[in-house]
Amino acid sequence: MDISVTETPAPTTRSLTLRGRFDAHEAPAFRDALDAAMDNGHHDLAVVLTDVEFVDSTALAELVRGMKRCREAGGDLALVSPSDPVRVILELTKLDAAFTIR
């Protein structure tokens, strides 16, 4: 999986764009990228999932962890344009109701 971090005009916001399969093998890299953004004061994160083919339970747990950390800091973690399979997986796990999806 590829992770790219993009700066945005708002100072507290960052965009993390993921590509490929997001599973337990890739979760540590995502956690590092998310924690780095948070530690630098970016509490509003947009995780772009357009090109993610699959998320497993570990990946979902990482997204939930990131969302909680952002919200505790007064921000949010939004999922942006999830791919077809990711959208269905979010619905089946009922996590679509927990996340901001745009």
């Binding site: 399969r21 337990a24 083919e53 570990t58 959208r87």
Partner: protein
């Protein structure tokens, strides 16, 4: 999700099929509470884009975790959950799923999505060419294998060598959990299948050669999913034992007739229980 594909998925999820399915996807599941729901989601979203009627069958294998509860709560009307009271082996779970399937073409796929469902079409193309059995393969030059441990690589190489030289099975990778059958081939093979454990794949391919079925191998992408239940050393011993069992079964004529009459009643299909989730 594109609106058209989302609509297709929602229709499949909520509207029972009114025609016989063209495709059946069977997932054997033993204690898969951490993996089964994302796998179902990935399979459902992809299969619904094919614009053909299809059904999903989860063949529980006596799970002691929450697998059965999770699947039954999904509320997908074209998903059938087969519940087993006790663990009987992956081969038995797949057989129950195959027997319950109604599709013209049947795929069985492991619950960990280690071979992405997007490769369904690659196997289907071979069936459409006239092959009876099409096997996803991690052995070909075009296969894309990721995160496979050294022990599993050595294990796979050893098995391939034995299978090729002693059993003359024209398949380099007998164990990949992504195999497609025509309904006729599936019924012929699984009605005779006797091995319920890990080596059932080998037995099925042995029988395919014995009965003159056309078998093709298609290179696939394969990702060694975290939490794999395969203990390479233990499985190697069982595999060698089962090689002898399969050969003995054949010499004794145990493959000459059906060993499992295809059930006609839902309770018999499930073995111990059946539930439409």
């Amino acid at each position: 999700m594109t609106e058209s594909n989302l609509a297709k998925y929602r229709h499949w999820a909520s509207t029972p099929l009114t025609t016989k399915p063209k495709y059946s996807v069977v997932i054997p599941a033993y204690n898969e509470e951490f993996r089964i729901v994302p796998t179902i989601g990935a399979i459902a979203s992809h299969m619904c884009t094919l614009d053909e009627p299809w059904e999903l069958i989860v063949a529980d294998d006596g799970s002691t975790d929450t697998t059965v509860d999770l699947v039954s709560e999904l509320d997908l009307v074209n998903l059938t959950l087969l519940i087993a009271d006790q663990n009987g082996g992956k081969g038995k779970a797949v057989r129950r799923g195959i027997f319950a399937s109604q599709g013209e073409i049947v795929l069985f796929a492991d619950a960990d999505q280690s071979t992405p469902i997007e490769q369904f079409g690659d196997l289907l193309a071979k069936v459409n060419e006239g092959f009876d059995v099409v096997v996803g393969s991690r052995a070909g030059a075009d296969a894309d294998v990721a995160n496979k441990s050294m022990s599993r690589k050595i294990f796979s190489f050893g098995l391939q060598t034995i299978v090729k030289t002693l059993f003359r099975i024209p398949v380099a990778d007998t164990q990949c959990g992504f195999k497609m059958f025509t309904a006729e081939a599936a019924e012929l093979l699984f009605a005779r299948q006797l091995v319920d454990e890990f080596s059932f794949d080998l037995e099925v391919l042995y029988l395919a050669r014995r009965f003159g079925l056309q078998t093709a191998e298609v290179p696939v992408t394969w990702i060694d999913a975290p939490g794999s239940k395969v203990d390479a050393a233990k499985v190697a011993v069982e595999f060698l034992r089962d090689l002898a069992v399969i050969r003995t079964n054949d010499l004794r004529g145990r493959y000459d007739a059906d060993n499992h009459v295809r059930p006609t009643h839902s309770s018999e299909i499930a073995g111990e229980g059946r539930q439409a989730a």
